[in-house]
């Protein structure tokens, strides 16, 4: 069963085309990732699906209801946590949860029970009575997600849920999101710039760049379809940029990542041997050699090569 259906959605702001004919669907119970660099159109898509904006053309159906024509019903089905947390710093966490639950139609008793449950689950019970302005970044993110779940929605939509979090808080939030998907069987639609996050959490991903879909599939299939492995190494006694230029001159598909060289290779065994020969001829020593399957980062770079630098995709 389809939870979210996006059909030929376009969005323009004046002369700027934010989304150009985007179509995809998210199945019920699936964790779906929207990936892309800054300005790719991810947040615009999230705002359209969340009923906050209208598309210039095309249609979005959420649980079969049109986000444009039946926004009221769609809001009952979705819980949304946007990139910027929408929390009033002068209210307590508990007050925000209670208010949100009441606006979704819960009775006072139901709202209290739900707020208590969510505070407990998101480890906020101890700070439930404190003003949100005193919360840490991690607490604010957790509360924002808890608020999105105040009405027990079937579909949870998250726009860059871990941006700005330190590694500990990021991993803790990953666990919460996994639990929402696996234990509560929620449908998750999330955007992220962290490709390893999508790799860890999403059943399927969609790459979007400059408002266009550039690839869609499971992380595993996308990596396999890429058909390349990555050879990574560094070399002592020479400037990395000289070495990269030298290897490109020998027809290696090569990029510089800091002081390391990364080579996309369809035939890694043969290429490692060739590299060894070349390095030997130049009296250089290979260090920290590794050959690994491609990551989603590599897939993304490969798909958008020429338009993105390695640094941009590794944000």
């Amino acid at each position: 069963m389809t939870a979210i259906q996006v059909d030929h959605v376009k969005k323009a702001y004046g002369t700027v085309q934010a989304l150009a004919d985007v179509s995809f669907h998210v199945n019920s119970g699936e964790s779906f990732g929207l990936l892309g660099p800054n300005g790719a159109g991810k947040s615009t898509l999230i705002r359209i699906i969340s009923t906050l904006e209208s598309p210039t053309a095309g249609e979005v159906l959420v649980s079969g209801h049109s986000a444009a024509k039946d926004a009221h019903r769609v809001r009952q089905k979705i819980g949304v946590a946007l990139q910027e947390t929408g929390l009033d710093p002068l209210m307590t966490g508990r007050e925000i949860l209670l208010l949100t639950a009441r606006l979704f139609g819960s009775t006072a008793h139901q709202a209290r029970n739900r707020a208590d449950f969510l505070m407990e689950r998101f480890q906020l019970t101890d700070v439930a009575g404190r003003h949100v302005g005193t919360y840490s970044g991690g607490m604010r993110r957790r509360l924002d997600l808890a608020v999105a779940l105040a009405h027990e929605p079937d579909i949870v939509i998250l726009d860059e849920p871990t941006t700005g979090l330190d590694p500990t808080n990021r991993l803790a939030l990953w666990d919460l999101l996994r639990s929402l998907s696996q234990d509560d069987h929620k449908t998750l639609l999330m955007t992220t710039q962290y490709l390893e996050e999508a790799d860890a959490l999403c059943d399927r991903v969609l790459f979007i760049d400059h408002g266009h879909i550039v690839a869609e599939g499971t992380p595993r299939d996308l990596k396999r379809e890429m058909g390349y492995s990555v050879i990574r190494f560094s070399a002592a006694g020479t400037a990395p940029d000289w070495l990269a230029a030298y290897l490109i001159g020998h027809r290696f598909d090569c990029e510089l990542d800091g002081a390391s060289i990364e080579i996309y290779s369809a035939n890694p065994e043969e290429d490692v041997f060739r590299l060894g020969e070349l390095m030997k001829a130049e009296r250089l020593t290979m260090q920290n050699l590794e050959v690994r399957p491609p990551s989603l980062d590599d897939v993304f770079l490969h798909l958008t090569s020429g338009e993105n630098t390695k640094g941009a995709a590794n944000l």
Binding site: T51, L52, A68, H72, L82, G86, P89, L99, T100, L103
Partner: protein, 258 residues
């Protein structure tokens, strides 16, 4: 039904926030009391002129203090909305099925509640300074109703400006309309003592004039109903214009669909 339920919850929350920023209330009440005490102290002697028909000057100047407090209090509705836009809370609320009208009406109602409390304080101070209510409790309640109505009109303006500008500074700057509204009127002396033709013209087209005179009619004996009705009409006209503007701004500025 759900509209009223939502409006109730959002208004309670808006009032809670108002109470939690007490420093925002103090300048407003201080300005109103300043007008009351300073103008009454400096100008009360002119009440001996025949144009005042034997009334006390404090009865004449009280509406100025009350209306200035009303305008400031209602302007807080715009500031509250700006706060919610900046914190993202308004968007969070817009993701609930709540009515968009309730989202903008709630801070207005909280602003009006605030100005009614201010009015009670101003009236209490005025009573201590010798104010008399010749029309009794009815006159007092009438003044409160006129204050709330004029506050609602100004709250609509403040909210519309907040939604259009989406900026605290711009919304604050827009409240400077307060000065011409308050002072291009028969603020300190009756119309018959204003001799400049341009001023008399501006006084006549300023709706605040009719609000002042409606309140003054409720502080005089014998009671004349005509100025009160003129004041009520001026308020209804202003409310219709500013609330229409506020609601159309909600749809246009926030891209929030109903």
């Amino acid at each position: 039904m759900t509209f009223w339920r939502d409006l109730w919850h959002l208004t309670v929350r808006a009032l809670l926030i108002t109470i939690r920023i007490p420093w925002a209330l103090i300048p407003n009440i201080a300005i109103s009391l300043f007008f009351l005490v300073v103008y009454n102290g400096g100008l009360s002697g002119i009440a001996a002129l025949p144009q005042f028909a034997g009334g006390h000057y404090i009865n004449f100047i009280l509406p100025v203090a009350v209306v200035s407090g009303a305008v400031g209090g209602a302007g807080g509705a715009g500031q509250a909305l700006i706060r919610d836009m900046e914190s993202g809370f308004l968007t969070k609320m817009a993701l609930t099925p709540t009515s968009r009208s309730a989202l903008v009406l709630a801070p207005m109602i909280a602003g009006i509640t605030q100005l009614l409390v201010q009015t009670l304080i101003i009236v209490a101070v005025s009573l201590a300074m010798g104010l008399q209510f010749p029309t009794g409790i009815g006159g007092f309640l009438g003044i409160l109703a006129l204050t709330a109505g004029w506050g609602l009109a100004f709250a609509g303006y403040a909210v519309a400006m907040a939604l259009r500008s989406r900026s605290g500074q711009a919304a604050q700057a827009a409240t400077f309309i307060f000065f011409p509204l308050l002072f291009l009127s028969d603020t300190f002396v009756p119309m018959s003592l204003i001799h400049a033709h341009w001023m008399r013209f501006l006084v006549r087209i300023n709706p605040t004039t009719y609000v002042f005179n409606a309140m003054r009619a409720l502080l005089e004996k014998p009671y004349h109903p005509a100025p009160v009705w003129h004041g009520v009409l001026a308020i209804l006209g202003a409310v219709a214009v500013t609330l229409t503007w506020a609601f159309s701004s909600t749809r246009k500025s926030l891209s929030l669909r109903n």
